[in-house]
Structure formats: structure tokens, C-alpha cells
């Protein structure tokens, strides 16, 4: 049976990478939501809802009949001010979880971010932690240490997910996305090498978020880079994530 998938923030960078990779997947019926209407030069694989993520009524309507949600909508700027992340990222995410529970949705994959743990990159640890022979690694069990207010908002979205899972049984996976770029990061950009998430690995990872069974999880979303200070073991284990790219392969 086809799965109905709601993708919020469909026009954003992550949303576009997911759609590129999964638009031909015939098992999914897509509903796409974004604040901005689609531009004319592109086909979308499903119904497109133009709505702000803070518009509770529109979000509730978009949630009807949905099995799984990929929640990406929000202010994506790492420099986003509190005045923006409070409504768009924190309040918007609470609206999504609440509507998902009320609509009987099974799963929500929440686009968290490496910025939720950015402050682990201290002066003492860097640049060593960006290098292959360094042993420092985060695996998703550590407490959040946001490096900016955007990261605070993402860590809050994770806690909201924990609550909606514990209280209502919603399956929630929080994906701390690294640096999503179409091309390989420059070989001399050490942090970028360690953080890279390729477009096809991104699409595959969120595909696994739709298909896998889980309770509440926090995983890292990066490719299988030689250099990495985020573990992808939990994503492999729980979601069946099998990345195919590695920033070290060419640059």
C-alpha cells in the first residue's frame, strides 16, 4: 500500500535533495508544503500546499491522511535571530508534532542539525577533531551543546519529539544533518570533509526514516566520510542507512 508522506519545507535545500532522489518512488504519495509557492520550472510529484508552518489550521489540514512526516520547514540560517527561530523553528515544530498526533500519523522525521551540538567544537578540540586520527566522536547520546540560537531551536525540536514520543507513542527520529552540498567539499576544508552529506545519501537517509521502525532516535546525517566526528552507527543500525558517498573519494 502506498504511504502518504508530508514533506514540510519542500522548496528548501534538504527538501529538494530528497525530492530529487525519491520523486520517482511509486510507493509514496507525496504532499508537499512550503511557505513559498512552487516556481514554474519544476515538476512536483504531488499536491503542493502553500502555507506557513506556524499556520496551525493549514498544518492540521495538510496532516490529514498522512502516514509519515518529513519535517524540514523552519528558518535554515545558522545566524537566524531568536525572533525568527522562536516562531518558525520552535513553535512551528510543536505545531507539526501536535497536528501529527491528532491526525494519527505514525512517524515524524525531524530535520535537526549539527548546530545542536556545534559548541562541542571548542578551541581545544579543533582542528584535531576534524582529522581522521582523532578519536573524539559524538553519537547522539550526548547532551545538546548548541553553537547558536538556531542550534538551540533544533535541540528544542528534539526535546519536543522526545515528549510527543513518550506521551503519545509517535515514532520520532531526529536527524542531525551535516553539511548538505551537491558537490564534494573542497579537500582542504577539513570540517566540511568531516561533515559532508551528499544529495543521494540525504535522500536515502530520509527514505529510511519513512520505511524503518523506531521509537525515538537521534541520529547523525552525514555520508560515509573517512574523516568523521559524528558516528553514523545508530543510523545504520536503527534505520538501515547505507551511505554510498565519502568526501575523501575525490575533491
Amino acid at each position: 500500500m502506498a504511504q502518504s508522506v508530508l514533506l514540510t519545507g519542500a522548496s528548501g535545500r534538504v527538501g529538494q535533495a530528497i525530492l530529487e532522489g525519491l520523486a520517482d518512488e511509486r510507493e509514496y504519495e507525496w504532499r508537499l508544503l512550503d511557505r513559498d509557492p512552487p516556481t514554474g520550472d519544476r515538476d512536483y510529484p504531488g499536491e503542493f500546499v502553500v502555507a506557513d508552518i506556524t499556520d496551525e489550521e493549514a498544518v492540521r489540514e495538510a496532516m490529514e491522511g498522512i502516514d509519515a512526516v518529513l519535517h524540514l520547514a523552519g528558518d535554515p540560517r545558522k545566524t537566524a535571530p531568536w525572533e525568527s527561530v522562536l516562531p518558525n523553528n520552535i513553535d512551528g515544530t510543536q505545531t507539526v508534532y501536535e497536528a501529527a498526533v491528532d491526525a494519527g500519523v505514525d512517524k515524524v522525521a525531524f530535520a535537526s542539525s549539527n548546530h545542536a551540538v556545534g559548541a562541542y567544537e571548542t578551541d581545544e578540540r579543533t582542528p584535531d577533531m576534524y582529522r581522521e586520527d582523532d578519536e573524539f566522536q559524538l553519537d547522539g547520546t550526548e547532551l545538546p551543546r548548541p553553537g547558536n540560537l538556531y542550534g538551540v531551536s533544533k535541540a528544542t525540536g528534539e526535546i519536543l519529539g522526545r515528549y510527543y514520543h513518550d506521551e503519545y507513542g509517535l515514532s520520532v527520529v531526529c536527524v542531525r544533518i551535516g553539511n548538505l552540498t551537491k558537490d564534494h567539499p573542497p579537500i582542504d576544508y577539513e570540517r566540511g570533509q568531516a561533515m559532508w552529506l551528499s544529495h543521494r545519501d540525504c535522500a536515502h537517509l530520509f527514505d529510511r526514516c519513512i520505511r524503518a521502525e523506531y521509537d525515538y532516535e537521534v541520529v547523525y546525517g552525514i555520508s560515509d566520510n573517512d574523516r568523521k566526528y559524528y558516528s553514523i552507527e545508530r543510523a545504520r543500525e536503527v534505520l538501515g542507512y547505507e551511505p554510498r558517498d565519502n568526501s575523501a573519494d575525490h575533491g
Copy 2:
């Protein structure tokens, strides 16, 4: 030299317990802030500012010349709806941290709550975890698991504190307060016995938050009860907390 201490939520239950215990402390110059004006039948040991914690300008003004902040203001109801905790507890707390940093404040003690970790009290663990011979214990290093949206807001206040510490060097201690009651809890109320924080231990604990030196800490605020599933070791070690009460002493 006298320390200037700003106490937000001064008229609330925790604020009153603190003032009862510390009002005669001559080393402190108090500035009290609450949304509600003081009632006529009580003396306050300092200047009283009537302002809402979401009133950024008023909070900034109240922060001038302050050394340490005890931030208690917010909606204290465990059943508080999102529409209240978002502005009052989350946005209000960000306002306090931001104003504290800008005013050059040294320390902020944030009144967090047992509700930030309430969902650890699962059906499988309770009531065993409320009993003396059970080994389950939380010590502040665990990830938040809020049992309600009030708890989500308190966990978010902790993450905000982590950020303002990491980014600006502000000393922050988050106190996950148990059940503060004047009298001993009923002897047959097992959870209450384990959770109890006496008025004098509460005042002493926040006194230590003003005096001690720390970076970023999450501690539990309960008395030295025979039964406890929250560790007070970190509070003892870092803050010099020496509780004098125990819920088991009489009931």
C-alpha cells in the same frame, strides 16, 4: 562587598521560600521582580520591580548592576499549555539570559524542574523507583525526558543556559527542583517523599547558587531524603549544598 541579586518570580512559591530564608542575609542587595505587585501585608528586603518577564525593556533595566540572577519567573503549572509556556517560560528565559549577558552579570541560577525528566517515571519503573531499595537514579547527565509541555519549556531553558554559557562565559546552574512544600509530605505518598525539597533547604541551595563558582551545571534540588531517585551529589560537590532535611524524619 555586597552582591546584587535579581530574583525573578519573587512572589511565587519558590521565590517566597528563598526570601524567607535569605531576607536577613546582609551580604545581598536584593532586586525583586514579579508580574504581580507585592501584597501589602509583607515586607520585602529590596527594591520591587513590577514587570512581566517577557517585557524585554523592563528586564534589561532590572538587570543593571546585578551580579547574580535567580530566575524563577514563568508559568509554574505542570499543566500549563504551550500557548503559555512558549512566551512565559521559553521566550522569557531567553530574554533573561540575553539581558544578563549584556549587563555583564556573572551568574544565573535557573529554576528548572523535575518535570524536565518526568517521563523517566515509566509504568515499568514505578512505583519501584520511588522506593529506597531501588537503584534507578538520575544525576543530571541524562538527556531530558519531559513529561509535559511545562517540562519541555524547562528543558529548553537548560539548553539556552548551555548556549549562553558556551558562547558568552556566563556561569549557569540549572536546578531541577523537586516538590517544594512547607510541611513534610505524607509518609504514604512515596513519590512525594522522594521528591521533597524543604523550604530551608531550598533557600540554602539557592544561596549556594549565588556564592559558589561554576561553569555550566544541571543539579537536582531535593532534600536529603532517605528515598531519592535524584542524585544530589553534584549539588553537594559543585555548589556545596548541605541539606538539613529528610522527608523520612517524621511524617
